[in-house]
Structures are given as C-alpha cells and as structure tokens.
C-alpha cells in the first residue's frame, strides 16, 4: 500500500516546520506518504495551478491558499468540491473557516491563521510602539518596510481601521480612494516595499529597516532566537489572515486529500501547530488544550482587523491598478 499525497505549503520556514512536526505523524497515523511542495506567493501559485489544471496536471494535490487567492480559484471552479461527510472534523471549525460551493461541496477548509503585526527592531526602538499610526509618524521617515502586494499586505484595512474607524469605508470606490490617499502619506516613510520576506527580515534584524509590518509568528521565532526584534499587536489590532486547504480539480487523490484535511482539523494538531509553527488555531480555542500563555504567543485578545477579501475579488484589476499607482507615487 503506497498511498501518497502532494501537499503544498508556503516554502521556507513554514514548509520546514510542517516537514518536521506534522507530516511524519500524519504518515504514521494514516499510512499516506506526503510529498512536501514549497509554494511561492499565493498569486503565482494560483496561476501555476490554473495553468497546470488546464494541462490536467496537479503540481500539488492539496495546497494551502490565502483567502483572496482561494476566492479567485473558487470563482473559476479550480478547487475540487470535497465531501463534508468524509471530513467529520471540520465541524471543529467556525463556519467562516469552511467555504462551500453552492451545491454544498467544500472548496476550502481553514488550515492555519496568522497575524500581521507591527514589528520593530528593539535596538532602534527601545519602547514598543502601540499604534499602526506609527506608520504615519514623520519621525519614521525612510525607516519602514511594508509588503508591496495589495492582497497580502492589507494596508487598506489597516489604514481604514486606524483613520476611518473601521473597514466599512472600503465598501465604495470613493471610500477606497480616500483610504488610498491617506495611505499615500505613508509613502515617504517607506524604505522598502518588499515581496520577499527574507529580504525584510534580514534588514529588520540588522536594524537597517527598523520598523514595518510582518508576520507575528516568524517575528516571534526570530525574537526567541535572540534577534533584536519584537512584534507588537497595535491598539487597532493585528491583521488576522488565514490559509485554507484547497484541492486542485486536476488531482487524482481526492480521497487522500480528504483524509489529510480531516486529520489537520483535529484540535490536537491545531495545538501542535500553534506550539511548533507559531500559527493561530483555526478550530475554536476552547477545543484545544493551549494554555493562556501559549495562546498569547500566537494571538491576542485585541479584536483583530479582518481583511475585506470581498473587495479584492470584486474590484481586483481596479484595485491593483490604483495600488500600483499609489505605491509608485
């Protein structure tokens, strides 16, 4: 019996954690071997999956997809519709982590959640900043590193929450433009608009770019490693983003994929992820045995900023264009 499955997660540190902490136990428990694939950024992975599916190929059977991309994929029916009955454990997840097609089949299941927070170099900033508003602080001129892809940086939401009292203003184009204008003011503070996490992390650690937005989990690991880095949940909240398991329709391993997703939805596994990978669980917290301290390390009690995935799907091209114009100045 040599059942196997190709699973894609974000490459690098993420993939490595899964390789060491999750897959071996999964294989031991189910007899399904995992071939681990490192994904690039979500958008290009989506394009790859789409193109490959046209050629009836699946570079990975199960992929961890960010929400915007998951939605895009779902709208072109790229994801296979999964049978919820084959995955009893998904009932552990709150509804917003389980996406379904109209016919009731499941297109995506929450895999992990993470926060984007305000990170600083502790040598450059002895005091932790408390608000996203620091991004606008003129004292921080030429000191920020921000994510350059609109669909992963969620700066629109951050800006809306910080300066317009919430993300509702993003409902209309005029509102978005207003937020963009506000965001434009950040530009002079930005040293690096990054796509590559590695590039920013290195600069952050050395103090070359002492402040920016980054992933709470990775920053925490670096801090634990003794690097002069800290991650702060601003008073407005961190951005809560998540990745979902999606299965390419070109995959021939639907059954194994369902076994895998079901396995991943167990509270013990989610807790293990929180401890070892540093992600926030997608199952309800009460089901896990995480201590308060452990939970605080991966999450926060401050209400999070929730990304407005809908606007990216509705106005993708337009937003992109405006965004490109905005960051280029």
């Amino acid at each position: 019996q040599d059942r196997s499955l190709k699973v894609g997660t974000y490459g690098g540190y993420f993939q490595e954690s899964f390789d060491t902490h999750i897959y071996p136990d999964f294989t031991a428990a189910t007899g399904i071997a995992v071939e681990s694939i490192g994904e690039p950024t979500g958008e290009s992975w989506l394009v790859q999956l789409q193109a490959a599916a046209r050629a009836n190929q699946a570079p990975a059977d199960v992929s961890m997809m960010a929400q915007v991309v998951r939605l895009k994929g779902a709208s072109s029916k790229l994801w296979a519709g999964l049978d919820p009955k084959a995955m009893p454990n998904i009932s552990n997840l709150p509804d917003h982590f389980v996406s379904t097609y109209e016919d009731g089949t499941v297109s995506g299941v929450g895999a992990v959640a993470w926060y984007i927070t305000l990170v600083t170099n502790t040598d450059a900033y002895p005091e932790a900043p408390s608000s996203w508003n620091e991004l606008w602080n003129p004292a921080n001129e030429d000191r920020l590193g921000l994510i350059s892809l609109i669909t992963t940086s969620f700066l629109l939401e951050i800006s809306a929450k910080t300066h317009f009292g919430g993300t509702d203003i993003l409902d209309t184009e005029e509102g978005i433009l207003q937020v963009m204008d506000k965001l434009g003011e950040v530009r002079r503070n930005v040293r690096l608009w990054y796509r590559d996490e590695g590039q920013f992390q290195q600069a952050l650690e050395t103090g070359e770019i002492p402040m920016g937005q980054y992933y709470h989990d990775v920053a925490g690991l670096a801090a634990a490693d003794g690097k002069p880095v800290r991650s702060t949940f601003p008073s407005e909240g961190g951005v809560l983003d998540s990745g979902s398991w999606c299965v390419s329709k070109a995959s021939t391993k639907i059954e194994e994929a369902q076994v895998f997703i079901d396995y991943m939805c167990q509270p013990e596994i989610q807790a293990k992820l929180a401890r070892n990978v540093g992600t926030a669980p997608t199952v309800n917290r009460e089901l896990t045995d995480l201590t308060d301290e452990e939970f605080a390390a991966v999450s926060s009690d401050t209400p999070p900023i929730l990304p407005r995935y809908d606007i990216y799907e509705e106005r993708g091209d337009w937003l992109n264009q405006k965004w490109a114009e905005m960051i280029a100045g």
């Binding site: 690098g12 540190y13 993420f14 790859q48 190929q57």
Partner: protein, 265 residues
C-alpha cells in the same frame, strides 16, 4: 603614468565584476543557516547539503536534464540551419539566421510569456519537455553563431579538394566538413548548456514549480530568507561555467569563437 591609470581602470572593472561572486562565495561558507555576509564561521556544509537534501537534489537533477537536453536540441537545430545559411548565401538564408538569433536578443520576458501562452494553449504547460524545448529555442542562437563561425573558417578549397580527389557530397561532409566544425559544435553546446543551467524566467513561466530548476529554487529560498544552499549552488555554477569556458579556451580558440578575427597567439 598612463600605464598605471590603465591598470587601475582594468582592476576596478574586474573588482566590480567580481564583487557579487565574492558575496555569494562568502554567504555560501556561512556556518549558521542564515544568509550572512560577511559569513559567520566558515563551513562547507551547504555544499554537502546541496547533494544530500532531496529537494535540492531533485532541482539539480531537473536542471541538469533540462540543460543537457536543451543544449543537445539547440545544437541539432542549429547545425542544419547553419549549414543551410552557409551554403545558400541569399537573403532568405540571412533572414533565417536572424530568426535564429532573435529569441536570444529580445527581452527574455517576452519570449517567456510567448512560450507560456504557447504551452498553455497546447496543453503541455508544466511538462519538462516544454521547458527543454523552450530553452532550446531560446538558446539556439549560441550554437548557431559558433557553428556558423566554424563553417566560415572552413576553407572552401578543402571541400573542393575533397571533391577533386573523388569524394561525393556526403563523403565530403562526413570526412571533412563535420570533423572541422566539431569543436565549434562542442562549444556551442557548452554555451547553451551553461546558460540553460542558469536561466530563470523562462523555466519559471513555462513550468514553474512542477519542474523546479535550481534557479527557481534559489529564487524561492531567497524569498523566504532561508538557506545558504542557494549561494552554494550559485558558486558551483559559476565554477562550472569557469571550468567549461576554461576548457574551451585551453583547447580551442576562445577569442576567435567570440568573433575576434586574429587568432590568439
């Protein structure tokens, strides 16, 4: 005085060229699993890791397969083309030659996108064959140029001599033309091989992560700030290129291959 200035200028240019290589070399010798320069603690472990870690090994394998096949294919496309151009010197032949040279001269993004669309629409997207063929077409310029140079250096009187001694057209090709252009064929192969090994954008757009090559792998690991293996790969490739071209220079006439008229002394 002027001589000193000249030497300084040449030395500056060389250090400009060498700087990145030194950086990658330094990074590749890091002890910790970080991309640090200057390196912290010297170690060769990442070179070893390149041949031990299965995903890197797989990428290496892919790269080598692609480079070998693409270079072979490019050479076998270039040889008949070059022969044709050499025999018929009309404008048609010249146009054909330009067509062979074009893909390499245009911005690679364009070729990459063209290939991507082509393979998607024919349904071969993501197959290793697609990458091989794309590379072969992209790089066909190199063997085409070297073989053409080789053919130009074949004195026509040699062929006539063979004919006057009783060799028909095929025998002449087999016993004279081919042995004479063989070194140029080999160097065309080498050029194509080395460049295919390092090609990024086309491989990326044509089969991306299904057929992961080393440059793609490097780009990804760079993206996640991850492992000095990628530096080790880069250094190995530069070393490989230096060896290949060094051999060509040693056993062939590299300046002439690059178009110098006077043979090197």
């Amino acid at each position: 005085m002027t001589r000193v200035l000249k030497s300084i200028f040449v030395a500056l240019v060389f250090s400009f060229l060498a700087a990145p290589i030194i950086v990658v070399l330094g990074v590749s010798l890091n002890q910790p699993k970080r991309l640090l320069f200057p390196p912290e603690g010297l170690s060769l472990r990442w070179y070893g890791a390149l041949f031990r870690e299965s995903d890197w090994l797989g990428a290496l394998q892919n790269s080598l397969i692609i480079a070998t096949c693409a270079a072979l294919l490019a050479v076998s496309l270039a040889l008949p083309l070059a022969l044709h151009v050499w025999k018929r010197k009309g404008w048609m032949a010249r146009a054909l030659y330009s067509l062979g040279v074009a893909p390499f001269i245009l911005p690679p993004v364009i070729s990459a996108l063209g290939f991507m669309i082509f393979w998607i629409s024919t349904g071969f997207y993501g197959r290793i064959e697609a990458t091989i063929i794309s590379h072969a077409i992209f790089l066909v310029t190199l063997p085409l140029v070297t073989i053409s140079l080789g053919l130009q250096s074949v004195n026509e009187e040699l062929l006539e001599a063979a004919r006057s001694m009783g060799a028909d057209a095929r025998t002449t090709f087999r016993t004279v033309t081919f042995p004479l252009v063989r070194p140029y064929l080999v160097s065309g192969f080498a050029f194509a091989f080395v460049l295919s090994l390092n090609e990024y954008i086309i491989s990326y757009m044509v089969s991306g992560f299904t057929v992961e090559t080393l440059p793609i792998k490097i780009f990804n690991s760079l993206r996640y700030g991850y492992t000095p293996i990628m530096a080790a790969v880069a250094v190995s490739f530069v070393a490989l290129a230096a060896i290949v071209f060094g051999l060509i220079a040693r056993f062939g006439d590299l300046p002439r291959l690059l178009g110098a008229e006077r043979a090197s002394r």
